[in-house]
Amino acid sequence: MRPSENIEKLIKNINIETNAKTDKAVLGDIVEAFEESIKNKSAITQPSIWRIIMKSKVTKLAVAALIVITVLIAISQYDGSISGTSVVWANVVKNTEQARAFTYRERETQKYGGKTHESERQCYFSTKYGFRMDNYKNGQIAISTFTLPVEKALIGIVHPLKAYSRKSLPETEIAGYQQVGPKYTVKLFTSVEYKELGRKIINGVEAEGIEVRDPSIGRMNFPVKSFVGRLWVDVETGYPVLLESEIVGDHNGPIEIKTVSDDFQWDIELDTSIFEPNIPADYTLMKE
């Protein structure tokens, strides 16, 4: 050590080494204390960011390290062919395929690690403008994602952090966003063996349903033990009114994910302003 050196620099730059074994032991104590305190918390523990950020060809946004592929995105990646559909269900597939714009709400409940987490998303799809998904926590908007084929951009806005990310949308993935969520789920559910559920009234609408239990559909980033999916369609219009899925698997412990998509508005006009991110001036760009 040379005393003539700038003393401030010397203090700032002095190195310290630690015993790796003790590092690990101390970290173990800390995590144990953390988990114990979490257990003692009230049942209103909030879900973490990974449950509200999707990762798929449609919404591949690097705004968080922990990402789960939700069931509707997972099944949208299935490359199944349509076969064995009845005339009615074939019309449903055709209707959804041809829908130029639609909106829907998606709610998800996860039971994992002894806790229950709930999240809600509002989604907007347009063949012309792209795909927008707003994730809500306790009624407050938390994260918005935009897939913009014209601008060839993927934008993620994390409102609680006043931050956003921006990535280019690869040419190869531009077509992928057209097969988002319920549009492709309908195609998928009708492409495998299904059980007819008959008719029931859903929100004042007479609907007819089918149920699928093919585990190969519910592909996730963990082993899936069982999958149940239900599709309910408005008998009069031939458009879906309710989509349900339940996945049970093992993700370093039991995990259950239930997803409900409803509040559909099919083949409507969506204003271009919906697909404008309008990032506030005081938000910071998150570097990857």
Partner: protein
């Protein structure tokens, strides 16, 4: 900075991965800080251990006004000051037992591995008054602004800046005299 914000956000929502990352990111800095403040390796290790335990238990009500590094540094500084006071009380009263201020956690081995530079610097810093030591260490190693240190010490910012200036002069003098020996 944005990484810290994201880590805190995730930590408050139950992410142990975020907690592990915070630990990995700041443990060395906090150990260095506690070690310089106390010049007692066992006490420094206990204080950093306890600060992290306390932090881990605080996720539900955690509110960080400034940055995470300064928050953790202030937590360690507060504990270090309490330890110092308790030690003085112990020396004054001659009692062997004083109110425990750090946990009796048993670790398998010593945590900090001292090198010569660190030992010499810590020995030099230990010759400063505790207030001067705290200002210098919190500013240079804890990354705290003079205003935040003034709030922590309950004095004016001018006093903090004076302590910093005189402390550095004294430290320079101690290290120079060491070099001449």
């Amino acid at each position: 900075m944005i990484e810290d914000k994201l880590l805190i956000w995730k930590f408050k929502r139950g992410s142990s991965n975020a907690l592990c990352r915070i630990y990995e990111k700041y443990k060395d800095n906090l150990l260095r800080l506690a070690s310089a403040l106390l010049n007692d390796s066992a006490a420094a290790e206990d204080i950093v251990h306890d600060s992290f335990i306390s932090f881990a238990q605080s996720s539900e009500h955690l509110k960080i006004g400034g940055n995470l590094k300064s928050y953790l540094a202030a937590s360690v500084a507060n504990r270090a000051r309490n330890w110092n006071r308790a030690k003085k009380r112990q020396e004054t009263t001659g009692l062997d037992e004083v109110e425990p201020i750090v946990s009796n956690s048993k670790r398998p081995e010593q945590w900090i591995i001292y090198n010569e530079d660190l030992l010499r610097l810590n020995n030099a810093i230990s010759q400063l008054s505790y207030q001067q030591r705290e200002v210098i260490i919190l500013h240079l190693q804890g990354g705290m602004k003079f205003r935040a240190i003034a709030d922590l010490q309950g004095v004016s910012i001018n006093t903090v800046q004076s302590r910093y200036r005189y402390g550095l002069d004294k430290l320079r003098s101690i290290l120079n005299s060491e070099a001449k020996l």
